[in-house]
């Protein structure tokens, strides 16, 4: 019996994936250029090429939310977006949330409410939570739970995450900061 490994079929040798493409975009307010193989995701570009390892990889399959970042102000899963798709766009990561050295109120609230344990899902939870407020979906506990459900936390800090988000929402979400 002949069998191939349990992965999708091999790309042909002339795989365009090997081609380099240059992407120019803004990351946390700074213009950046990444020259990378077309297969490189936004997540890997941020982590491997730009050294922004705050954004995490929990699945690389769009199923856990650990890689949540903002692209043009909206939350996206960086593992499901190719770096090349970001040309000309504005990307914000967890490293870009603070202003003038001050953490974002959501970051403070997560610490205060112990909205994490291992902390691995936390950058994604926080990026989602900040977007949630902007989307106006933090009105009720139920809404928060529903619209945060794309962000898995295996340590299960969920109730504390909800408490942190509520706390910031109650303070008006510090719109100046968003």
């Amino acid at each position: 019996m002949t069998s191939t490994p349990d992965v999708p079929p091999a790309p042909p040798q002339s795989d365009p994936g090997a081609a380099e493409i240059t992407t120019a975009f803004t990351v946390n307010g700074t213009p950046r250029t990444v020259g990378a193989d077309t297969r490189v995701t936004l997540l890997d570009a941020l982590r491997d090429r730009l050294g922004l390892t705050g954004t995490k990889k929990g699945c690389d399959q769009g199923a856990c939310g650990a890689c949540t970042v903002h692209v043009d102000g909206r939350r996206v899963l960086a593992c499901l977006m190719l770096a090349a798709q970001c040309d000309g766009r504005e990307v914000t990561t967890i490293e870009g949330l603070s202003r003038e050295g001050r953490p974002h109120p959501m970051q403070d609230a997560f610490v205060r409410h112990d909205g994490f344990q291992c902390g691995y899902c936390t950058p994604g939870q926080i990026m989602s939570a900040v977007a949630l407020l902007r989307e106006g979906r933090a009105g009720t506990d139920e809404d928060i739970r529903e619209f945060m459900s794309g962000n898995l936390c295996r340590c299960a800090a969920y109730p504390n995450v909800v408490a942190a988000i509520k706390d910031v929402a109650r303070e008006g979400g510090d719109h100046a900061h968003l």
């Binding site: 490994p5 490189v40 990889k57 997560f110 945060m148």
Partner: protein
């Protein structure tokens, strides 16, 4: 001198000291580390569950762009297996021969310049197999079984006579599936050799064990191996072993002469770093008409890998859960062509408690007594096997406080007696007696010229709050503000501590830190006592306390000096002391060593038409002895309870019964609780400091999970009248 009159500031719910690093993305997890010149590796895994590799062709892969090496069983030298650990033998060394023992076994490792190149080239490795018919389940007559693998089987009295004397008996079989730990952080290993010196950034819960393993496997002295795991994206037991992929990454780094980084994929996390093994349990209980237990018999069978160990004595806990004269517990493990199981948060007890506490609920129904009352009547006032008093035990208080907070007394006795529209509402409960566990630990505490202190240990913080509680403890014992204490953890070069596992690290490492603080204060005191320039010159040690950042005269805080001043005058940049702790011995103490106790009260709503189960609230009360930080301890328990909800109603690793392939190895298919699944949780701590622990601490990392599945299953029975004895409880069982 006294290091602390008492420990009043301990327990304060201070924020995690590593919180700011985690919320800003600055905490360095193993996969975040890069080294100059590093290459990337990708695994090739077997697509059969048993048999042999007949041909392995790497030609295409080797020619692919950027590829530096392809490791196979032809290239990897014969490596010895790692050492014996408290969790049994080390996993088999990888790529040693052509045998396939499970689906998803590593068969090759491709190393390339970039991650994408390694992944693409891994697809070009051609493997031919001579498959054999795999053993995949308990009932396969070819399966080899191991009886009483951990020597924990127990016999007390005469269980048959006990059952014969019972007025009411329960005899039921419970099954629990494979669950996968699935920490959110993908496990990763970055290995770098410099000559014979090896540095490894590894996703481990036990840096000292990985160091010992790598030294043994690669034939280098332990001192030349350094394993770092200062932060870890969860583990839940998956990080308790030196897995084959870790050894492969180290071998690859040696082969290519460059640092090599290997990050597992999510599907590989299902086959490469363990799982909670499935099992079948039979429980027989006997009681007299007045609800007194007279017999407990608990047998379990669980799956084990072909050539590995796994600590899973499911039934062992039942021997000490209740006062009962006639008890038998027996565990058996059956070897199968499955990926290696491993401890997963509350190994064995998560499963064993589900069976016992479900059976207790069935017994309560059969006796027509309240389930809580049944437990209280059979409460183990002393340790049931040793007959010794517990070093601490507030289980009765857990029950009382939990029942009060939950409103248990308003629960109607009959099942199926409450509804809310199309939802059937039910309430169930379960008790937990978690076992004591502790291992020896070392720690070093150093005061530095700036007047602050540092705690150092190889033990790590898996998210439990170790950084925080050690910092609190040291600050308290040395009379320093929190900001002036730093903890350095997760580095095997630092004094050796045990694994972050078994709910035993806080007590072991905390006691070692307390010992180090005491020795350090003793050394400081010696310096000042003989020093005519010190305001404490000639002081009686009994009159000196650690306070205000230094040593002070008791009752006269104005008389004393800071650590900074002491060190400066003696021209020392720092002064450190090593501390140690060893586990208590029950016979010496005349006490039975108690782990944590707990009680869970759960309410569920079951859709009458669809069978959908929603957990609507859970009240949990835990006796964890002295709680060092109520905030982080509460998070531990919340995490455990939600892990228990996952076990009860979602988690199920499905293996194809013919090929042995895991069919749902993604987060899209393997369901874990998400935000929307989690109701309001009410967590309370009760109890006193434990008398056998130097700090009075009992670990709370696992107890929160145990019992949740039974409480939910019992609530489902109360809601619907349907007894579900097989997890997870999915709607098909309720239609």
């Amino acid at each position: 001198m006294s290091t602390a009159e008492d420990l009043p500031v301990l327990g304060a719910p201070v924020d995690r000291v590593d919180g700011p690093l985690k919320v800003t993305g600055q905490a360095p997890y193993p996969s975040d580390v890069d080294l100059p010149g590093q290459a990337h590796a990708a695994l090739v895994q077997s697509t059969i569950a048993a048999g042999r590799i007949t041909d392995l062709d790497t030609t295409e892969a080797e020619k692919a762009p950027g590829v530096l090496a392809v490791l196979t069983h032809h290239t990897v030298p014969r490596l010895p297996r790692g050492p014996m650990t408290s969790l049994g033998v080390s996993p088999p060394a990888p790529l040693q021969d052509d045998r396939i023992r499970h689906h998803g076994q590593h068969v090759a490792l491709v190393v390339a310049e970039s991650r994408e190149q390694a992944t693409a080239a891994a697809r070009l490795v051609r493997v031919e197999y001579a498959p054999a018919d795999p053993v995949l389940d308990f009932d396969d007559p070819r399966a080899v079984s191991v009886d009483d693998p951990w020597g924990l089987d127990s016999h007390r009295g005469d269980v048959d006579a006990g059952l014969a004397s019972a007025d009411v008996t329960v005899d039921a079989v419970y099954t629990t599936p494979d669950n996968t730990n699935n920490p959110l952080g993908l496990f990763s290993t970055l290995a770098a050799w410099e000559g014979e010196r090896l540095t490894v950034y590894d996703a481990t819960q036990w840096p000292a064990m990985v160091r010992e393993t790598l030294a043994e496997v690669f034939g280098v002295p332990e001192v030349s191996v350094r394993v770092l795991s200062p932060f870890l994206g969860g583990g839940f037991g998956a990080g308790l072993r030196a897995w084959p992929h870790v050894i492969l990454a180290v071998q690859a780094a040696r082969d290519v002469g460059r640092p090599v980084k290997l990050v597992l994929t999510r599907p590989q996390m299902f086959t490469s770093v363990g799982h909670r093994p499935k099992g079948v349990q039979r429980v027989r209980l006997g009681a007299t008409a007045d609800a007194t237990l007279v017999a407990i018999e608990h047998h379990s069978t669980s799956l084990l890998a072909v050539e590995d160990d796994d600590y899973e004595p499911f039934a062992a806990g039942s021997a000490v859960a209740y006062a009962c004269p006639h008890v038998v517990t027996a565990d058996r493990q059956v070897r199968a062509n499955v990926p290696a199981p491993v401890s997963m948060r509350a190994p064995a007890h998560a499963q064993g408690n589900f069976a016992l506490e479900s059976a207790m609920d069935e017994l309560a129904c059969a006796l027509d007594v309240d389930p809580l009352e049944l437990r209280l009547r059979n409460h183990a006032d002393v340790h049931p096997a040793l007959g010794l008093p517990w070093s601490s035990n507030a289980l009765r208080e857990c029950y009382a406080v939990g029942a009060e907070r939950f409103g248990w007394s308003r629960r109607p006795a009959r099942p199926r007696s409450r509804r809310d529209g199309h939802w059937l509402v039910g309430q169930g409960m379960a008790g937990v007696s978690y076992p004591w566990y502790q291992a020896p630990s070392l720690a070093r505490v150093t005061v530095t010229a700036d007047g602050g202190a540092t705690v150092a240990s190889s033990g790590m913080d898996i998210g439990t709050g170790t950084y925080t509680v050690l910092t609190q403890l040291c600050a308290h014992l040395l009379g320093l503000p929190l900001e002036q204490v730093r903890s350095d953890l997760g580095d095997s070069d630092l004094p050796e501590a045990p694994q972050a596992g078994g709910s035993g690290l806080t007590s072991a490492l905390g006691s070692a830190v307390a010992d180090a603080c005491e020795r350090l204060l003793g050394a400081l005191l010696e310096l000042v006592r003989d020093d005519p320039e010190s305001p404490l010159h000639g002081s009686d040690p009994e009159d000196v306390v650690a306070a205000g950042g230094g040593l002070r005269r008791r009752g006269d805080p104005g008389r004393g000096e800071t650590y900074a001043a002491i060190l400066a005058r003696h021209g020392r940049p720092q002064l450190g002391a090593d501390g140690a702790s060893t586990p208590a011995q029950p016979t010496e103490l005349g006490m039975a060593l108690a782990g944590a106790f707990g009680a869970h009260f759960a309410e569920v709503r079951v859709d009458e038409d669809l069978g959908l189960v929603r957990v609507s609230r859970v009240t949990t009360v835990i006796d964890g002895g002295r709680i060092l930080n109520e905030k982080t301890a509460r998070s531990q328990v919340i995490g455990g309870v939600i892990g228990g909800i996952g076990m009860a109603v979602f988690e199920d690793t499905i293996t194809d019964p013919t090929t042995g392939r895991i069919a749902n190895a993604t987060f899209g298919d393997y369901l874990v609780p998400v935000h929307a699944d989690v109701p309001d949780l009410d967590v309370t701590f009760v109890g006193e400091p434990d008398r056998a622990s130097a700090l009075g601490v009992k670990g709370v990392g696992e107890v929160g999970l145990v019992g949740v599945a039974a409480a939910i299953a019992n609530a489902v029975h109360h809601a619907t009248g349907v007894r579900v004895r097989s997890l997870p409880i999915t709607l098909d069982a309720l239609l």
